[in-house]
């Protein structure tokens, strides 16, 4: 893992947390969506906070795809677990939601669990795997 790759994973964490927080703030303004009128969710897309959330999540998506290009899915997800802590901090201090001690304990356990895998290899090597970058496009099975 190079410094550039750690930066990619850091940007997955940052854009994911910020995007979720923007969406949550936007949806608080939009209000609860009636379960019988689920199409109302599309009107939420006009909310400025939701729009900023979408842009943040697009940045998240780009960095997430880049991370998956050099590491396993089961490596990238744990490595970005610090995002749960970010989310709790944003919920507590920006959205002023109540985060109880039990929830904090849950978040700590999640981070501990996912941190276990971060020390292992980032990529599973498959026997007979050829240099992917030289492959043409296609849908190999």
């Amino acid at each position: 893992m190079t410094f550039r790759k750690y930066l990619v994973i850091l940007s997955v964490v940052i854009f994911g947390s910020i995007g979720d927080a923007f969406l949550a703030r936007g949806m608080k303004q939009v209000g609860a969506i009636d379960v019988h009128h689920l199409m109302q969710v599309f009107t939420a897309v006009a909310n400025p906070w939701v729009i900023m959330g979408i842009f943040s999540l697009l940045a998240f998506m780009a960095s997430y795809m880049t991370a998956l290009s050099f590491a396993d899915l089961t490596y990238v997800l744990p490595a970005t677990a610090i995002g749960y802590v970010n989310m709790a901090l944003i919920s507590r201090f920006w959205l002023h939601e109540h985060v109880s001690l039990t929830r904090w304990a849950g978040i700590v356990l999640i981070v501990t669990g996912v941190g276990l895998v971060a020390g292992g290899p980032s990529r599973t090597e498959h026997l007979g795997e050829v240099e992917p970058a030289t492959q043409g496009s296609g849908d190999r099975a």
């Binding site: 899915l73 749960y84 109540h98 999640i110 669990g113 292992g120 970058a133 492959q135």
Partner: protein
């Protein structure tokens, strides 16, 4: 009643997000390291190569489903429940998907981590 709707929403989000994650991971594995690819072929070639992967479009479709489901969930529940619960359960589902569909090396350490995450989610729901 809203709690039931929230958990149905979380379940739908988890299934859609895990399907999306597995398909996108499959596409990116086929493409290889984007940094190396950009150095060899240039920035535009990266975009063309990424857009030529059909698995990616399947992944983006499922991620979009997860996005709107998450949006509905956020209108019913706090981010501090909806966010970690859906994301952590997606992580557990992804571990299964990665083992059986992507054939990743999900060893004992990664399974223990998955259990820790699931217990963490249970704690998160006890408020």
């Amino acid at each position: 009643m809203r709690t039931t709707y929230t958990w149905i929403c979380i379940a739908f989000t988890v299934i859609a997000a895990a399907s999306g994650d597995v398909l996108i991971a499959l596409a990116m594995r086929r493409i290889g390291d984007l940094g190396d690819f950009r150095r060899k072929h240039g920035f535009l070639a990266v975009g063309a190569r990424v857009l030529s992967e059909s698995a990616l479009f399947g992944g983006v479709f499922f991620m979009a489903m997860a996005f709107f489901s998450n949006l509905v969930g956020l209108s019913w529940a706090d981010l501090s429940l909806m966010g970690p619960a859906s994301a952590a359960l997606t992580f557990a589902t992804n571990a299964v998907g990665a083992k059986f569909f992507l054939h990743e090396n999900v060893d004992k350490r990664r399974w223990i981590a998955t259990v820790c995450v699931c217990v963490g989610v249970v704690l998160l729901t006890h408020t």
